[in-house]
Symmetry: C2
Subunit: 230 residues, 2 copies
DNA sequence: GGTGATGGTTTAGTATACAAATGACTTCCC
DNA sequence: GGGAAGTCATTTGTATACTAAACCATCACC
């Protein structure tokens, strides 16, 4: 399996079933999609994938449905599935939507956060700083700290529907590739933005927090687009 | 089957498969949930529902997954499904999210709409006016015209991701119950808002269109909440 | 009398065989 | 030679039997 496939950097855990075969199929397929082994545009044939994952078609079907919901996979009218293709335009679209929803989330969270939550946010940010300052950069640890920060905000926002929507948008390839594109300086800037957002929340100032979050997500988009443009 | 269960008033057609049994199960279950026959909180047992729908468990599973994605059904950690319960707070939440996303959609649409689109919007609005002014109110026709207007905007916005997100939020019970709660005067006001939005789009003014849409959705929320409060 | 383990019962997950539908190719007719 | 229809291969949808896990009530032991 691809080394990155098991890295979990979503804010919301999606549906990691209790069951075994579905998860296995889901992780296996997502891994191969992210690694490019299953290239964009490839048709996903249930039987083929079942053989690949060593399970029957039933859990593969579930996995494909899940990946479809997460926009990794698109489905034609005649129910055939293909690996989704991501254009620069799509990235812009997703980041814009994420920006709106995360800004809303942090506004709600700012109005609800107690000292315990603020402490946890600060802890996540401290962890992130340590990873950035370390000599050898530990990507999974960075992603985990980043995810923790955003997950805390989403949790504090206390809106199931919002969480469900964001779960569809905060996707591995996007976050991951964005982080890859970051220089250490950019990572530090991202960290400092997190600290500022936590401060705004500690003040209980939704407007401030929301504005900071919008800028934070927007910067991530441009960091992601830069290597494509330059 | 409940008379309203087959009324389609989503902006996006969800997934109406080509297949037979899945659709049948989906429509049957959704119908029973909307009619209250399957009351909020009821556990959905696959075998039981299979018998109810006259199909096997397999398509029932698919239907439940779909209903879950549309927030009609919630699932516990241990993979048991229950009919979702809607509190006033949940309604507010959904309408707020819808407001944000639809305002964004109409902004995009306003920047892209050509005269053909404007003409179609006007046609949908004319149809709506006719229904409202008719002596006997034709609910399905009203819902269809309303859905058509919003669907056109969403289509013109040309964003798959956005459409996917809104597809989860624009739910039957919400829209339907909202319309039920409307008086004829409120329906006319809603119609006039549609006309204004179309005008803003014809002017190619995204800010105007967006602001109008926010207000439009917000008004729908309050129309929906009024009977609960009063 | 309460708390925690244990086994039966219920419910979801998986495999597999079969049916239906789609897509592509061939062939036949114009 | 072009088009349309039919046929075959491929792929998804459905049914069913079986497996595993979660729930619940009972009982034993503290």
């Amino acid at each position: 399996m691809h080394p990155l496939s098991a890295v979990e950097c979503r804010y919301v855990p999606g549906r990691f079933c209790v069951s075994k075969a579905s998860d296995q199929a889901y992780l296996e397929l997502r891994g191969r999609i992210l690694s490019g082994e299953l290239a964009p545009g490839t048709q996903l044939k249930e039987e083929e994938l079942a053989a690949l994952c060593g399970v029957s078609r039933t859990p593969v079907r579930a996995a494909i449905r899940q990946l479809e919901a997460e926009l990794f996979v698109r489905r034609t009218d005649s129910q055939r599935s293909f690996v989704a293709e991501w254009k620069a335009e799509d990235l812009e679209e997703v980041f814009t939507l994420r920006g709106m929803l995360e800004a809303y989330a942090v506004r709600r969270a700012a109005a609800r956060a107690d000292t315990a939550v603020i402490a946890e946010l600060n802890a996540a940010n401290e962890a992130m700083r340590k990873v950035i300052e370390a000599l050898d950069f530990d990507l999974p640890a960075y992603l985990a700290a980043n995810a923790r920060f955003h997950a805390l905000i989403l949790e504090t926002a206390a809106s199931d529907r919002l969480a469900a929507l964001l779960g569809k948008l905060v996707l591995q390839p996007v976050v991951q590739q964005t982080v890859r594109a970051y220089s250490r300086e950019q990572l530090m800037r991202s960290y400092r933005e997190h600290v500022e957002i936590a401060a705004a929340m500690a003040q209980g100032d939704p407007d401030w927090a929301g504005a900071l979050m919008t800028a934070h997500i927007r910067r991530a988009l441009h960091a992601r687009l830069e290597p494509l443009e330059g």
